[in-house]
Symmetry: C2
Subunit: 639 residues, 2 copies
């Protein structure tokens, strides 16, 4: 057996290595309008007085305060109105005793005058009548009384946003020095293609250089993408060298696994120092930390979620420290919704967080949907065997994620998209089929499950609540949908039996559609006197599983399969033919404690609304039971 | 008396007008790397399968699973190793029974093979030895099993950040449609100059077009600055017309007060409709809402804080609604630290928020420092007479403000800047002099006050705690600083008495330096047998108040004054001469409940540190009492 003999570093060791990096961020001067979100690299000292002159802070008349002391509502004093001073000019006049100059808010106080009488307390006839006294300096703002020349108005290290930009403008600054940490980003791998280009055979789109660049930006860094580099030592070396000339930190992804493509490690070793080859926390094993061509370099794992996880755990704190970017938004405490068993080694587990509850997001290795469904990750140290439901955990978020209101887990349906749109809900939809939805309700992770499971008795959904051991949820009747065969217009398939011998695309195990398909297939096997396995062995594509109706339709449309089972809606949307085999009851299962929550209330209102009924796509329809709530014990209801 | 007869609209009426605006945001297509923070204007449906082919999810050997069923650790099976498949190519081979193809993670599964044996469970000699069985599909990720063609991966209205950008890249999207709301921004006023240009007489820098543009951006809008426009009807009209052609919303500021420059109202009336002329909530009186050249227009007040307040109250929610930008970050609930008396009319009161406590920020009308020190504002309806200390209020933040850890109120000192730097604290520093600091401690708003108040007995600070009615704070001895006269090198002034008859720049009332100055002046008045007022009347500039030592030095340096009282530090920093008159004790007052807080602990550590002592600028020095804590009752200590 081939074995690896590699000494992984611990998290603490990795962090010590990272702390030892002495990175000085570059400083760039930018226009203040481009500065929101950046961090000041200089103390800003005002070079002007604000205001720059003694100014009137009210519309009115500039006077000698002493002239007004006797003014009364019923006994106004008279002054000679000499001139009018608008804002923006330098009034080269002197207001003498007994005189007044009309003055606008913000205008320069004329020499002589030491107060402003508000216009409301004056009246003009041939003279100016003043009805109230003012004291010296009243309604006058002195030069520099707001900010004086020489005052430090903003401190180095300040994060700039709206109000700081206002302060900068006020002191006459149009450009400002900010920190700029250039972070080079390189994706390696022969299999990578640039998004937007055609995908050749055997290739996949490069994700990491885009997602990591966005993450770098959120941390206050300036990402510089060097694009995709083939798995070629010379090519990678050249790009690393180029990046090292300009950048303060270099991030690569891919080419770090222990397999045939493990070139990154060797290049770093030959052109610098490898400080860590693998971190002893899942998914850190493929990570590399080192210096190459004099600059710190991090080799991130190739899988997108792993790459972002290792970035957020080890690189993001470093970049934030250097750029002074705030951290508070990226960590939250919340309670585990389910018990999680440790894998026996330290791990960073991707999790979703909805309504303060944390649940693990575990998809296949390298699945991009893990990233789409996870809000962040939690650390489970190797010595922890179990994280219990209800335990408070600290979640490191994948940047500034927009966390939805409700978590839907279950069967995919286009009607659900309509419902979400009508209810204006932010809902995370996880398509794992009806059984997955019921499991999630039982585990306490889902807020709503969407199910359409047919019992062999002919009853939908209710029998399965009991079968899944769900005792305290309500079933909300949803809508009906036509299930059937989806085929191309030129297909010879006309009835369910015809799928035997055809190339099919199947739905995923646990989905209601799969249950329906298998019930129908069992009937045929029974009729033909053969085993179910014997029958399905002869169906080409029986084990090719698609997760959604749309995916079924696509496969048929593109000729990857000749037939699949799905709903009329997607058949019609894709210009395909549809052969109805059943009218399904698509229902929702909801924990009873949530029925009074605002989110579920909006959901229920939308479900029962005329608008939803009208907007439902063809093949789906509401009926008299739509919105009906069935409570436990279900068995009684069934009688 | 001149009076205004104008019907202000209520907040509700203003909001109804704004709700009636039917604004459709534009849609623009941008590269995904530029999309963080934008909102999707399309449903994103995957046009590719992810992965696009059946791929190996481990490094190992692609085999027929059935060939491995008998494999055991102590009894490996032998397969013929036929070829090696790297990632990124299309393997045009067929793996037959009894054969194995070496395969890299991410590579395309060859025809024939239906599983991958991990490399760890194999060994090569002339054949390939397999030590563990695999089942069908093991370590294989099926085409489309992550995302299938036709699947909606992102919903219209989704806010884009790191993970969404990863999903977009994964499905091959390089560009994406996002909402783009163009918001035109115009500053009007003859007195305005562009920051960065020279400030002519009577002019001030334009602040609003920069701060409002930044605020628009934070709401998800696309600000378009039309710069500064003179108070000229034709000019303003032309710019409004130009802005209306391109923009979805127009924001102006200035030219809306009731005085001579009130042209905006007339222009809107002549070229559209004025829907509201003044909103009945302070500072909304100068605001105008209407339509001009077919587009919604908001005339914001000219003062920067007022302008941002009205923007955040009325315009920001509109822009956020249209752009789908999240609101949660801009509102927080917190407790009032002090009682606030209403002004008898509705008002939006600027407030600071530190450690969850809200305190009003009230500077002079139009002060830019209000903006610098306020984090947001609270609404006080007209029917509320008083907001009590401890009451929970909802604060609308001025965008994504960076709220500091601690609030310092008191006397300005450069030593404090050093202390903040050594302690690495984010501290808001409000320079209102020593008395202001003590008031803030008494009111419960400040976390630290910095004081240097000399009692006529010759004792510093402690007598003033009692005088201010502070019974439960501790006094922390700070450092010594040399106070004296700051004069130019060529000055004839050589002792304190010389300031009589000179042009001076004074410190603000309530500052310790002012107290020191007045004590010295009283001594002189006493010696000369004249009244204090009689003496100060003859000091040119006695009533010109600067808030900081730096400002004093600047005024002297620039020749605006001949002498001021301040610390040696700033005299030396400005190349000025210094004539010492006292060694002051600069101390800190801290509520005792905070002594154990992490912020104050860091503050105390820094104060007592060698580093602080060494970094203190010239003229300031620590001494044996530095860091000493004096607790109540103060009177006992004084004995």
């Amino acid at each position: 057996m081939r074995k690896e003999f590699r000494k992984l570093v611990t998290i603490d060791e990795a962090n010590k290595i990272i702390e030892s990096f002495d990175i000085q961020p570059g400083i760039t001067e930018i226009k203040i309008e481009d500065s929101p979100g950046r961090v000041l690299a200089e103390d800003v000292v005002s070079e002007v007085d604000v205001p720059p002159f003694n100014r009137a802070s009210m519309d009115g008349y500039a006077v000698h305060a002493a002239d007004t002391y006797e003014a009364r509502e019923d006994n106004p004093i008279r002054l000679k109105s000499v001139v009018s001073i608008p804002a923006g000019i330098n009034p080269e006049i002197h207001v003498g005793r007994g005189e007044a100059a009309e003055i606008a808010t913000g205008a320069v106080m004329p020499a002589g005058a030491d107060a402003v009488v508000m216009v409301e307390y004056t009246r003009s006839d041939k003279d100016l009548l003043i009805f109230r006294p003012v004291s010296i300096n009243e309604n006058v703002m002195h030069a520099g009384s707001d900010i004086m020349v020489g005052e430090r108005v903003l401190k180095k290290g300040t994060a700039l946003s709206t109000r700081e930009i206002g302060v900068l403008a006020a002191t006459g600054r149009r450009a400002v020095k900010v920190y700029g940490l250039d972070v080079g980003i390189i994706s390696t791998g022969n299999e990578l293609e640039e998004p937007g280009s055609k995908l050749n055979e055997g290739k996949i789109y490069d994700i990491n250089s885009f997602s990591v660049a966005s993450a770098v930006k959120e941390c206050g860094g300036n990402p510089i993408r060097y694009g995709i580099v083939r798995d070629d030592e010379t090519e990678i070396k050249n790009v690393l060298k180029k990046a090292a000339e300009r950048c303060d930190i270099i991030l690569t992804s891919g080419s770090t696994s222990a397999g045939s493509g493990d070139v990154m490690y060797r290049i770093i070793e030959e052109n610098g120092t490898v400080l860590a080859h693998g971190i002893d926390i899942k998914p850190g094993k493929p990570a590399v930390i080192g210096k190459v061509f004099g600059k710190p370099v991090f080799g991130l794992p190739g899988y997108p979620t792993s790459s972002l996880t290792i970035f957020n755990e080890f690189v993001a704190p470093l970049i934030r420290k250097i750029t002074g970017e705030k951290e508070e938004k990226t960590h939250i405490n919340a309670k585990m919704a389910v018990r999680v068993r440790s894998e026996g080694r330290s791990q960073l587990l991707p999790v979703g967080v909805i309504r303060g509850r944390v649940y693990p997001v575990e998809k296949g290795s390298g699945a991009i949907t893990t990233l789409a469904e996870a809000d962040g990750f939690i650390e489970i140290p190797s010595e922890v065997e179990m994280v219990e439901a209800g335990e408070t955990v600290s979640v490191t978020l994948f940047g500034e994620v927009d966390i939805p209101d409700l978590l839907f887990v279950g069967s995919h349906c286009l009607g659900l998209d309509t419902l979400i749109d009508v209810a204006s809900l932010k809902m995370r939809v996880i398509n794992v089929g009806s059984s997955g939805g019921l499991s999630a309700i039982r585990n306490g992770t889902a807020d709503i499950a969407g199910v359409h499971l047919l019992d062999e008795s002919g009853e939908y959904n209710i029998p399965f609540l009991e079968r899944f051991g769900i005792r305290d949820a309500v079933l909300v009747k949803g809508y009906l949908r036509e299930q059937g065969l989806i085929v191309r217009k030129d297909s010879k398939i006309s009835r369910f039996e015809d799928i035997i011998g055809a190339r099919i695309i199947n739905r995923n195990t646990g989905s209601g559609t799969r249950v329906l398909t298998d019930i129908k297939l069992r009937e045929i096997a029974l009729q033909r006197g053969i085993s179910f396995e014997g029958l399905t062995e002869n169906i080409d594509g029986y084990h090719t599983e698609a997760k959604t109706h749309s995916a079924i339709a696509s496969a048929v449309k593109l000729g990857k399969a000749d037939v699949g089972v799905g709903i009329r809606t997607v058949a019609e949307l894709n210009g395909l033919d549809f052969i109805k085999i059943a009218d399904e009851e698509y229902d929702f299962v909801i924990p009873p404690g949530l029925l009074e929550s605002s989110g579920i209330k909006r959901f229920m209102e939308a479900l029962r609304s005329q608008e939803f009924s009208e907007k439902l796509p063809p093949g789906l329809r509401t009926y008299e039971r739509t919105g009906e709530i069935i409570r436990m014990p279900y068995s009684e209801i069934r009688k």
